[in-house]
Assembly symmetry: C2
Homo-oligomer: 166 residues x 2
Amino acid sequence: MNEIESSDHTLCPVARSEAVVGDRWTVLILRELFMGNRRFETMQAQTGATPQMLAARLKKMEADGLVERRRYSERPPRHEYHLTAKGEAFYPVLLALRAWGETWCKSPKEGRAVYYTHKSCGGPAGLGPVCESCGQPLRREDLTVDLNPAYRDEREARWAAFKGGR
Amino acid sequence: MNEIESSDHTLCPVARSEAVVGDRWTVLILRELFMGNRRFETMQAQTGATPQMLAARLKKMEADGLVERRRYSERPPRHEYHLTAKGEAFYPVLLALRAWGETWCKSPKEGRAVYYTHKSCGGPAGLGPVCESCGQPLRREDLTVDLNPAYRDEREARWAAFKGGR
DNA sequence: CCATATGGCTATGGAGATCATAGCGACAAG
DNA sequence: CTTGTCGCTATGATCTCCATAGCCATATGG
């Protein structure tokens, strides 16, 4: 691949983004971080990534400025991963991806996995970029999240299976 | 990987989406389709994918219901790839990805690669999910697209290089 | 006719990424 | 002083992806 063909040297913002997040695991890790899951072990359980994949991806994400590695215990040394501003700014993409998945990658009877409520107006936020109740653009800090019980169970089962199988 | 850990059997809409579009090439192909580039050869030139990758991805995308393969010439047999409704619906994700890339994956002096104008109000649409000029949610059919001259040159150079090197 | 061009792929072999499984190091708790 | 927890690293097999080359059916020009 010569210089001009390489996506490392393109002006296209989509290709630039894909060079950073164009990877199943990276997106799933971001999902976990947005759900408040900041620890290696729990991310491993919920994404299904192998420990090397997870370690490698977190390292790349740190290098790309998406996450910050913070020590939360000195002895034993323990770390948590926190989103940077750049990582936080990825939220709209995840929201759009989620809306597309809920709409186009499910059989109708499954129902939604996640429900958002718009704090500002108290109504359901829906699947669009603006609140379906009040029409205001959705910002992460204005949303409360509720998981479908089946989805919550799925996540708990994954954690139980992970802990059991070590 | 057991059943519950497999992302094929999760309720999570993000994981469902990633199973379909969680791939650099698939997203770049979608970008080309949204730019109106529907032919194998030109997509190969602009994405930099090898012909097998492109053929494999287009086949998978057809199986996943994102694109439709249409014959535009009987003899010699020639095809074009068209977005389905499911493919079209991916537009907001690409828009969000583009906004993130323009904002977070560029040095300030580079400038935007793509400018959107909001037909409904005549003003620039900006980078958010709603028009920065009039505040209305952005729909694809209400937007006109202008490429930065440098980006246009880059694309023309890629095509020239591709045709030259065969 | 025959050579060359065009568009849409397929074939091959090697390089690199990813996987499953196992284990380590530092400490805490019992 | 054994067992458990957390955050990884090591190893070897497998699988994907890439670069390069070529094929097939048809137009097109000489």
